[in-house]
């Protein structure tokens, strides 16, 4: 038990103690951003890596969480209408917005909203045995539709601009470096807790069932389980993680906009999971952090090369190392020990 948790503990110490000490606030908040993506990636790792559901629409759930939080932050900045409503000509707060003034309701919506939508969608499609590529295409279309919907409702959502210009979060001044550090610690802890919980889930009977559904859905039916239900629950869990990640992302990065949750960002996260290693939860997390860091580093050095690198990396991973970094590392370790 101790031996098994040692690597996790080591990483936890680095992330929670070493990083905040070493990194300056700007870099720390970038790292916090990657960790938010890692939470989404964890959900993708669960849904895709473990249960075989390739969801290309996680951005939708991430966005729902992010928008819920953003709406809350907008409402708590000293009364008055949110700035974008003013210039969109909205004169009084839409009824939809009212509940988001309450922090508990806002956070609950951020997590439960995506879960509910995923549950409804999952029930609809999985019962009809829509799966594999069809499911992927549908979720992708969902991401596309979500963006259009958000953009089209400028008075309600801030349109293309999204929402930005937040001042404080739960009473803490966002401009303050200590708030940023605190947010970082919150994100890192949430990730840690979710990672442990997901790992527990994957190692449980439920996890075995997921693997079984991934590798032989029809056979599982003849074991007396309803794969549609199991898949729906799993899809909803991963959606919930994405929603929570979105809610954390907003105060960390200070903006939420449709561009963050469309087809491309959704796919990019799947790429990250594949690069890290889809079959292992640690791979998903690692992939998100590595790809997030690589994107920042590349765009600072040679912006134009980023797409080449991303594309090439992906082609290489899919063809040469389908198990991602974790897979390569494991093979390497095995080669050394045997």
């Amino acid at each position: 038990m101790i031996r098994r948790n040692l690597p996790f503990a080591a990483v936890a110490v680095i992330v929670l103690v070493v990083a905040p000490l070493l990194l300056e606030p700007f870099r720390l908040s970038l790292l916090a951003k990657y960790l938010c993506y890692a939470i989404v990636a964890l959900g993708i790792g669960l849904a895709w890596g473990q249960a075989g559901m390739l969801t290309l629409g996680q951005g939708v759930f991430f966005g729902l969480g992010g928008y819920s939080m953003a709406m809350h932050l907008k409402l708590t900045e000293g009364g008055g209408l949110p700035d974008f409503m003013v210039w969109s000509g909205v004169e009084e707060l839409p009824a939809l917005w009212v509940p988001f003034g309450d922090p508990v309701l806002a956070l609950a919506t951020a997590v439960l909203g995506p879960m509910l939508i995923a549950a409804v969608l999952g029930t609809l499609v999985f019962r009809q045995r829509v799966r594999g590529a069809y499911f992927a295409i549908l979720t992708q279309a969902l991401a596309a539709a979500m963006v259009i919907l958000l953009v089209g409702q400028q008075g309600l959502t801030g349109g293309t601009n999204g929402m930005t210009n937040f001042f404080d979060v739960f009473g803490q001044d966002l401009a303050d470096d200590s708030t940023q550090r605190g947010l970082y610690l919150v994100v890192a802890s949430v990730l840690g807790v979710l990672y442990l919980a997901t790992r527990q889930l994957v190692n449980s009977r439920y996890g075995r069932l997921l693997v079984a559904i991934r590798d032989g859905e029809d056979r599982v039916r003849f074991l007396g389980y309803d794969p549609a239900l199991v898949k729906t629950v799993t899809f909803a869990l991963s959606a919930g993680m994405a929603g929570l990640a979105g809610a954390l992302f907003v105060p960390v990065v200070g903006i939420i906009s449709p561009a963050l949750l469309g087809v491309v960002p959704s796919l990019e996260l799947v790429v990250a999971v594949a690069v890290g290693g889809r079959h292992a939860l640690a791979g998903a997390v690692l992939g998100a952090v590595v790809m997030g860091y690589a994107q920042t580093a590349f765009s600072e050095q040679f912006a134009d090369g980023w797409l080449y690198l991303q594309g090439a990396l992906f082609i290489l991973v899919m063809t040469l190392a389908p198990k991602g970094i974790i897979g390569v590392a494991e093979r390497w370790r095995r080669a050394r020990t045997t």
Binding site: Q200, L201, N203, S204, R205, Y206, R208, L209, V211, A212, D215, G216, D218, R219, R221, F222, L223, G224, Y225, D226, P227, L229, V230, V233
Partner: protein, 249 residues
């Protein structure tokens, strides 16, 4: 216990089952034979909900099975295996069995890690003789071992009716023998329907045999009755077998 009445299945105008009547009483070990294309696998598909008949009824222990989903039928106590074994290669033998034993658990209790071995799993392990391989991943098993695991998974489900589709196909002689013994023991406390071509196997283990031909039940009876029936000879050896050979074994 299992009762099929006038079951018809049509694929694109092709009558795969053409009015099958079949009754399997409790506790019987029934063999289902017939030439290729006779409809044996289709019959099992109909019972387990994979194929929907266009007409007829399928009743099991007082329940009407037609229209129920696969997993619901399993929950009524009907288990099946497939011609090509599908065990979950990434899971260990014991995990495969545990999974099969688990469908009655509520979903949320599945979130707990498996600790120890449940009674049903232990029993299935013992019966199939896979104890030594319990912690090995199913991916490394031999073909015969996979078939046993598959039967073990069926046992772990604790079904009342087992439907086995060609359980000894591709097995070596020794393996066939072991499977036969396993089946006989299972039949002591289960109702079992086996689709099998292997005649030696059939002779050794079958009590009642149903012969299907072109989507209909041709004959039903003991092995000796069936082998002596000229109609069976005809479908196996050719239509004019009796004229051409003029001699019956």
């Amino acid at each position: 216990m299992l009762e099929l009445r006038d079951v018809q299945v049509v694929f694109d105008g092709f009558r795969a089952l053409d009015g099958v009547n079949l009754t399997v009483p409790d506790g019987e070990l029934r063999f289902l034979i017939g030439p290729n294309g006779a409809g044996k696998t289709t019959l099992i598909d109909v019972i387990t909900g994979l194929t929907r008949p266009v007409a007829g009824s399928v009743r099991f222990a007082g329940h009407d099975l037609v229209g129920r989903k696969e997993h619901q039928i399993v929950r009524l106590g009907v288990g099946r295996t497939f011609q090509t074994s599908v065990v979950f290669e990434e899971l260990t033998v014991i995990e495969n069995l545990d999974l099969a034993a688990g469908f009655r658990r509520p979903l949320w209790t599945l979130a707990r890690r498996r600790r120890g071995v449940s009674e049903a799993v232990a029993e299935a392990l013992a019966r199939t003789g896979l104890e030594d391989l319990a912690e090995r991943s199913a991916g490394v098993l031999s073909h015969g071992q996979r078939q046993w695991l598959e039967i073990g998974m069926l046992l772990a489900q604790r079904p009342r009716l087992l439907l086995l589709d060609e359980p000894v196909a591709g097995m070596s002689k020794d393996e066939r023998e072991r499977t036969g013994e396993l089946l006989t023991r299972i039949a002591d406390d289960h109702t079992v329907v086996v689709v099998e071509h292997d005649m030696e196997f059939l002779r050794r283990h079958a009590s009642t045999v149903t012969v299907l031909h072109e989507g209909r039940v041709l004959v039903e009876g003991s092995v000796d009755q069936v082998s002596a029936d000229p109609r069976v000879q005809e479908v196996y050896l050719g239509r004019k077998a009796s004229d051409a050979v003029g001699h019956r074994p």
